[in-house]
Point group: C2
Chain length 276, copies 2
Amino acid sequence: MNRIAIVGVGLIGGSIGLALRDRAKFTGEILGVSSDRTISEAVRLGAIDRGVTLEEAAATADVLYLAQPISRIIWTLEHLSGIIRPGCLVTDAGSTKVRIMGAARDLPLFLGGHPMAGKESRGVSSADPHLFEGKTYVFTPRTGEGPEPSCVEFVRWMALCGAVPVFLSAEEHDRIVAFTSHLPQLCSTALASTVGSQVIEEKHLTVSGSGLRDATRLALSSWEIWRDIIATNCENIDHALSVYIDKLTEMRENLQTQRTGGEFDFAANVAGKVRR
Amino acid sequence: MNRIAIVGVGLIGGSIGLALRDRAKFTGEILGVSSDRTISEAVRLGAIDRGVTLEEAAATADVLYLAQPISRIIWTLEHLSGIIRPGCLVTDAGSTKVRIMGAARDLPLFLGGHPMAGKESRGVSSADPHLFEGKTYVFTPRTGEGPEPSCVEFVRWMALCGAVPVFLSAEEHDRIVAFTSHLPQLCSTALASTVGSQVIEEKHLTVSGSGLRDATRLALSSWEIWRDIIATNCENIDHALSVYIDKLTEMRENLQTQRTGGEFDFAANVAGKVRR
C-alpha cells in the first residue's frame, strides 16, 4: 500500500490518517475526499496530505477507505464501478455490514470493516491517532474467498494503528452488534426518554447518582447516525428489542423472587466479562 | 452535635466519619457500631474514634447515623424505642424512604436521608472523605413537622461534608428514585443478561464499544443490596418498569419512522440535563 485515499474525513477517517502516519509510521501518500473546509483542517492536522476528487482517488489509490455515514458509503459504492482502478482495494468503516457488502458486490476487491471505536464529539477536529488503541476492528471478508494479499496487507496496517482485528461474516457481525451495540443504544434512549417524561420537575433529575449518567450517556447520540444504522439492520434490531422486552417483562413478573436474584448474578458475570 | 454514632461502618458510614473529620472539621466524638474487625479498620483509617455497642451509642450520642443495608436499618429502628436517649436525633442513609420512615414512626426525633453517592467497591476500606462532594443528599423530614433545631444542625454538617441537600417527602423520593436510580439498575441488569444469553461465544463480547461497558456498569451491582431496595419500593419500581417497557414497545413498533427520531432528540435533551 503506497497510497490510501480516505473518503469522508471526519472523526474515523481523520483518526485513520493520523494513526497511519503517527502510530503505524506509514510513509506513503494519504489522500482525502471531503468538503474544502474539512480538507484544509485535515491537512493542517496532518491527517491527510492533500484533497482530491472521488474520481481521482478511485483512479490512483491502492486502498479506498470509505469513512462516511452508512447511506453515503452505499451511495459511493454504487458509483465506483465505472471509475475504480483495477487492483484498488475498497474498504469501509460502516457500523452495519450486510447491506454494505451487497452494495459492493460488483467491485473486484472489497473488504468490509467496522472499527469499534468512537467518541462523543465528531468531525476531523476530534480525530485522534490513538482512537483505535486496543479496540476491536471487525473485518467481514466476502465468503468463499481466500485472503487477497491486498486485504492481508491492509489488515496489518490497521493492527499497526493499534486495532485488534476480528474476522466475522457480515451476517454474524450484524446479528452480534444488534445485541452488543444497537440494543444498548435503544435501551439508553428509551431510558432517558422515560425518565424525562416521568420526572417532570427538572430539579428532580439531580435526585440521581452516577448510575443514571452512565446509563444515559449513549442517549446523547444523534439520530442522524442512528437512522442509517437502524435502517440497515432493522430485522436484527427488532429481534434484539423483542428479547430484551421479554427479559424485562419476566423480571417485572418475578421482581421479589430469587429468580431476579439469579438474573442479577448472571448479569454481573456477563458485565464482568465485557470488562476483560 | 458533640457526639455522633455511626451504625454500620461500611463505605457510606466510613465516608461520613472521614468527611466529618477531614472536610467539615468536626471536633466532637465519632463512635462506631460494627463488627470488631471493621471497628479496628475504621479506627485505623480515622473514620471513627472508637467502637461501642448499639445500646451505648443510643444512650450517649446526639446523632445516631444508620448506614446499614435497608433491612438492617428497619431492624435497628424497631429495636431503638426502649434504649434511645430522649433528644437523640436518629437519621439514616437508606436508598428507599417510605418503609424506613414507617419503622421510625415511634422515635421522638427522626430525619430520613439518602446520600446519592457511591462506588463500585464496598466496605470501610473504600471509604473516602470526598465521596459526597457535589452529590445530592435527599432529606425526607416527617410531614407536618417544622424543622427541628437538631435536624437543621445535622443538615448543615452534611453540607459541610460537601453534599448538596434536597428536601422531599418520603413518597416523592421513592417515586422519583424508582425512575432515576432503580429503573437504570434493572435496565442494565436486563441488558447484560440479554446480551449474555444471546451472544453465546465469549469472544464475541469483544465485538462491542464503550457503549456496552457504560450500559452494563450498573449490572455489576450485587443482589444483596438490590433485594432490599426492590422489596421496599416494589410498587413504584413495577410502575417504572411498565412505563419503560411501553416506551420500548412503542419504539420497536416505530423503529424506522420519524417518531423514533423525535424520541432520540427528546432523550438526548434529557441526557444533557442529567449532566448539568
